[in-house]
Amino acid sequence: MIRLEPRLAPSRTMVYGAPLLAVVLTLITGAALFSALGYNPLQSLYLFFIQPISDSYGITELLLKATPLTLCAVGLAVGFRGNVWNIGAEGQLTMGAITAGAIAVTWHDSTSSLMIPIMIVAGLAGGMAWAAIPALLKTRFHANEILTSLMLTYVATFFLGYLVNGPLRDPEGFNFPESRMFGDAALLPMLVEESRLHIGALIALFVVILGWVMMARTLIGFQVKVVGLTPLAAHYAGFSPKKVVWMSLLLGGALAGLAGMFEVAGPIGQLQPVISPGYGFTAIIVAFLGRLHPIGILLAALLVALSYLGGETVQMELSLPLAVTGVFQGMLLFFLLACDVLINYRLSIGFKGKTA
């Protein structure tokens, strides 16, 4: 019989071994799934994981797709460590896109080089303001932030729908629900020629490093961790849980808002009824896959982004139905989440009685 036994100390091997094991398990079950459906398993896996990043364009696309996931997840992870459960990054991202986008639409013929900095500030502020609501409701009224931040996500989506159907609709757009295209001054500069990879990706990388330093080296990072691990000890040490709630939510909201700004001022270039295909929610999974560590998050975001690109490639090349991709992605997430158990536990295979 197989049992889980707690380890005395977290396994160092498994810190790196677990995700590798998960990927191997996914590859094996994926290969079984694909061949059961009559597709060549090796070719399918190649198309899924290698083909999408086999040229420089593919790599820029991967980084582009990973950028919003990384930004949201790094912000959320700080809160998760402090036991602050902001699951409304999707709404905060949308709000950041709205505030930044409203500026771009209002001054659409501006050529000022200040446009981008102003929009970045607006995006940060929009996301932050939206996250401030759950923070206020939590600290003032003890309202559970999981639920308030989730509800606010829907409110933000409907608000965006209202705006692009009304006040911010393109006056020359034949009444289609979308804003006018942003002017060139409101579009992010590109990092790589002939690609869509904008400077937002660089900023995201910077945020990852900053997040790492903050959690590892600064007092505030220490406070967050202590409040998360042992609220009582934090209390005696004089750390304020309320401060941690505020800080976590504002930081998470700001980064999500920034991600929203990057999306509208980057690949989208206008306001549309839907800004994000669920980045804010996927980022929660990414945060845990990355074990709430900024570097881990970066790797997890790249892997998840790759699974999206791969899903498109297998459709294009093999006509593999999207439904199969969905099953495969779900499996990948489960294996990654599940294998982490091996860091703190070990499998022991023991028999109740010895039999010959």
């Binding site: 696309e61 797709k65 034949f174 289609f176 270039g269 294009m316 006509s319 139905p321």
Partner: protein, 357 residues
């Protein structure tokens, strides 16, 4: 043997690159906004794709990606087609407009076809069906079949394409039944069977005995079937979802257009910057087979109107047309221009209510 081999090599060289290219099938890509499913908007596009496959067989390779979100993801899918040597890309949803143009700029030699949009370029064509002609014809059926003179319409988003359909349908109804009125409910979603069902039930509750719809699930037809009233399908023939209720449907047939464009690409005559807006005449818009409940005189009426539209003697928006606040919008003796129809943002007389926003 050596000589034979050498001769073969020489022959191959002589034929040059053309032979090599002929072996490699020309590739065509389709981008779909929803799952293909078994009926509805994307399904009709996929029938067109299948028509190409059938016609050209091994000479071409056709591929598709379904459920591509409108926005940044669509640009990547279109881009991947373009840079993988695809000859043409068919982007089948409105939200792919700007992504298509952006990619087209980088790949001037690839042909891009964008459905339902209004922006074109040297290598980007747009195409759209005159759905409204079909809507007018089924409106004639609805106007004749209603007893309560209340007709319901389950609609997705208040965009010009949908408004145009509502108006053409109403014009058809009022041409045979000036007392009838059309009530509209917006679901604000292209696909939400539950909400469409609720909207249809609500309209039936308010006395509607014929329903029409502009959304992607057959829920409206089912609601009519259960309530014992009539319904008219859209995009696909939906009769299997309501054998008694389904009177007919206005159906879109993209196959002739796709076959034509693929042929042009294959023989090098494809040109960009063209806008196609085909209708009954070109068989892009069709009317599905009638239910047994539709009497012969109504069928004849539809056939007659269809012939007149094809002949150009009948136009669904021929003046005088008033809006539903009584203001004359199209004067007698003139018909609405294509440009005005593209931006339709008012209801014709007979539609109840105000257009949102």
């Amino acid at each position: 043997m050596g000589k034979l081999k050498a001769a073969l090599v020489a022959a191959t060289l002589a034929l040059g690159t053309t032979a090599a290219q002929a072996e490699e099938p020309a590739k065509f890509g389709f981008v779909y906004v929803s799952p293909i499913g078994d009926a509805g908007y994307t399904y009709q596009h996929d029938l067109g794709r299948k028509a190409i496959e059938e016609k050209y067989g091994d000479k071409i390779k056709v591929s598709f990606v379904e459920s591509v979100a409108e926005g940044p993801d669509s640009e990547r899918v279109i881009m991947n087609y373009a840079k993988s040597g695809y000859k043409a890309v068919f982007a089948t949803s409105f939200g792919y407009m700007n992504p298509t143009l952006k990619v087209a700029k980088k790949f001037p030699k690839v042909a891009f076809e964008h459905a339902t949009g209004y922006k074109r370029a040297a290598n980007v064509n747009t195409y759209l069906a005159r759905f409204y002609e079909g809507r007018y014809l089924v409106g004639l059926v609805a106007g004749k079949m209603t007893k309560s003179n209340v007709i319901g319409y389950v609609a997705a988003f208040p965009i010009p394409e949908v408004v145009r359909g509502i108006n053409a349908f109403t014009q058809g109804i009022r041409a045979v039944n000036p007392d009838a009125q059309v009530r509209v409910i917006w679901t604000n979603s292209w696909f939400d069977p539950g909400k469409e069902r609720e909207a249809a039930d609500t309209l039936i509750g308010q006395g509607a005995d014929v329903l029409n719809m502009h959304a992607d699930s057959p829920a409206t037809i089912q609601a009519a079937e259960d309530a014992g009233v009539y319904a008219i399908g859209y995009n696909s023939d939906l009769s299997k979802f309501g054998p008694k209720a389904h009177l007919t449907a206005s159906v879109t047939n993209w196959a002739p257009y796709y076959v034509k464009r693929v042929e042009e690409v294959m023989n090098g005559t494809w040109k960009g910057n063209q806008d196609t807006w085909d209708g009954l005449k070109e068989d892009m818009v069709q009317v599905a087979p009638f239910n047994d409940a539709v009497p012969q005189d109504v069928r004849d009426l539809v056939e007659k109107a269809k012939a007149d539209i094809i002949a150009g003697t009948l136009h669904p928006f021929a003046g005088p047309v008033k809006d539903n606040e009584g203001k004359e919008r199209i004067p007698a003796g003139s018909t609405m221009s294509d440009g005005d129809m593209l931006g339709f943002n008012w209801y014709v007389e007979g539609v109840v209510g105000k257009l949102p926003n």
